[in-house]
Symmetry: C2
Subunit: 354 residues, 2 copies
């Protein structure tokens, strides 16, 4: 069962590849919402109808290969253990919604985890494509290719004036949500990010924490995505998003330079203390772990910490989430137990780097 | 100039020797206050008279050897730089009083720093003898031997009923102040020490921090000494002090066992985090350094931290004091600069242990 490798490795294979501005932009994602024509949206549809859709994907696409992504693995969500579900959510391969609200939920996930298609989520089909660094256009092109490939067999719900029809009206039109995950420690340290968020919102973009809607910006990781899906082409939308992201990159770089110039010793102290906490603590909650991981990541980017790869921190961010910890322990864990295991996993992982 | 070795090494040679209960009792000290008969106490005496006393010691005792302590080095206090003065105070070889209030202050210090005689402090003569661990009786015997040796040439101010006469009435009688330096982290963590201090005071003993009167208990190091010098023999006084110290040792051991049993993981977390701070911080003030050193010392005593010697922490406690840091830097340092140098010295010193 290849599900195991999605579950056991904290870092998705595609994350190891290089990408533009990868020190600040961790990943770019394109998500396309699609629905079958003449079938009610999952929230209203009969279970049998949804089961049909699910079976269709299992039969048509399981183990088929799309481009260089190798086989698509069909994952039946209701058959997963609660811990397996959490792990896939923590890896952003599926959404919390798919886990919570659907009896007929499924996913097609490519071997390198770069493509993931959720079935019977809020919409019948949600295609997600990830790229490392800032590569929105590349991700969009790949998503379009995938979309075209699906469309050979699926009759999409589409309206000539409105565009793609979706369950939630906020997705109607392009059905596209483009987002980038950014590590903005210097803008956070200097409190600039809080002033920037309202301005970004006025541009029709949304800023969230790493784990989606309503989540806190754990580890200074911010997700920026488009709010508007209608009245603009997909390419225009990602161009607007990309231009804001580029400005944020520039601001973050300036803020980093300022911090280094103004208080290098203080910054070094903070970064190295966090490194010490990760290497020595025996009990650590996810908030503190994220904060320390963010500091160390900044230290690596600034050349203050050497001989440790930046990827390890992407990995640790996922590895130290509750689901992953429980997968690792092979049992459910209380919060206190998780804090102990988290500390131990981080220590072991950092030792491997030396 | 052999003064250099007093100044450059943070740890006195005698501290490296073993002693009973050395994991809790860092050192035992006997201090005997003596004065010349028919000479006013330093506070009232003419400068010429004090200069005579000072010269007497320089001529009679400099480079003489007392027992196995090797040569006594004569140190003229007014000739020292401010930093050198601080270093000798931080090593407890001289008192702050000797530095501040006397034009004719001097000291005779034995090569291994176990015997130090202050001249023209509050009294004409103050003999100090140190022993590692709990060895009050041994220290007293050595102090008596030294006292007898001096008395061959010095005519002491002595009264048949009152005993030794001293500048401050609180020292009259035996002129003896016996004290032990104890590391009591478990009693401090469990807040028991604060309840014990008033009880100890009622027994005619005084509890202070590591740097004497009015000083805070930096690094959970407490100095316990006798208050009463009159109406009891020296041996009775140290027996009473010793019995309280033994009780404190027992309480500390019980408290350590309790902490380990009740919350071993929490304790490990605290100890290892402190170890991490000492190894990684770039800025550290003396309060935090002392706290971390105390935690790590406890970790070594409990076998939680291995491959690091307990002595290193006695050394670090002195090494990280302002005077020592400035001696090391070879210039006066502002508080902020000291915090940076302190962190760097601690890191370098801990690296040597690996």
């Amino acid at each position: 069962m290849t599900l195991e490798h999605f579950i056991n490795e904290a870092i998705s294979p595609w994350m190891l590849d290089d990408g533009p501005d990868k020190d600040i932009v961790m990943s770019s994602r394109i998500r396309l919402a699609r629905n079958f024509a003449n079938v009610s949206y999952p929230i209203l549809a009969d279970q049998e109808k949804l089961e049909e859709i699910r079976s269709f994907f299992e039969e048509e696409y399981a183990h088929q290969s799309f481009q260089s992504y190798e086989n698509l693995e069909f994952v039946s969500i209701p058959e997963l253990t609660p811990v397996e579900k959490s792990v896939l959510v923590e890896k952003h391969l599926i959404s919390p919604h798919l886990v919570k609200f659907t009896q007929q939920g499924a996913a097609l996930i490519s071997q390198n985890e770069q493509v993931s298609v959720m079935i019977n989520e809020e919409d019948h089909i949600r295609i997600q494509v990830y790229f490392p660094g800032l590569q929105l256009k590349k991700a969009l092109e790949h998503a379009f290719n995938f979309d075209d490939w699906l469309e050979e067999k699926v009759n999409y719900a589409f309206d000539e004036t409105k565009g793609y029809l979706t369950s939630c009206p906020t997705n109607v039109g392009t059905g596209m949500r483009a987002s980038v995950m950014m590590h903005l420690p210097a803008l956070a340290m200097s409190n600039q990010i809080n002033r920037m968020i309202p301005a970004i919102s006025q541009l029709g973009l949304v800023v969230r924490g790493i784990y989606g809607e309503g989540s806190e910006a754990l580890g200074n990781i911010f997700q920026i995505s488009n709010q508007i899906t209608l009245g603009k082409s997909e390419y225009d939308i990602i161009e607007d998003l990309g231009s804001v992201v580029n400005q944020l990159i520039e601001h973050e770089r300036t803020a980093r330079t300022h911090i280094v110039e103004r208080s290098e010793m203080k910054l070094q102290d903070r970064i190295f203390r966090s490194y010490g906490v990760l290497q020595y603590s025996r009990i650590i909650d996810s908030k503190e772990a994220s904060r320390c991981i963010s500091d160390v990541r900044l230290g690596i980017d600034l050349g203050i910490i050497k001989n440790t790869s930046g990827n390890i921190l992407n990995e640790l961010m996922v590895l130290t989430q509750p689901g992953f910890l429980q997968q690792y322990a092979n049992r459910t864990l209380k919060a206190g137990e998780r804090d102990v295991l988290r500390a131990s996993l981080i220590r072991e992982r950092l030792k491997l780097e030396k």
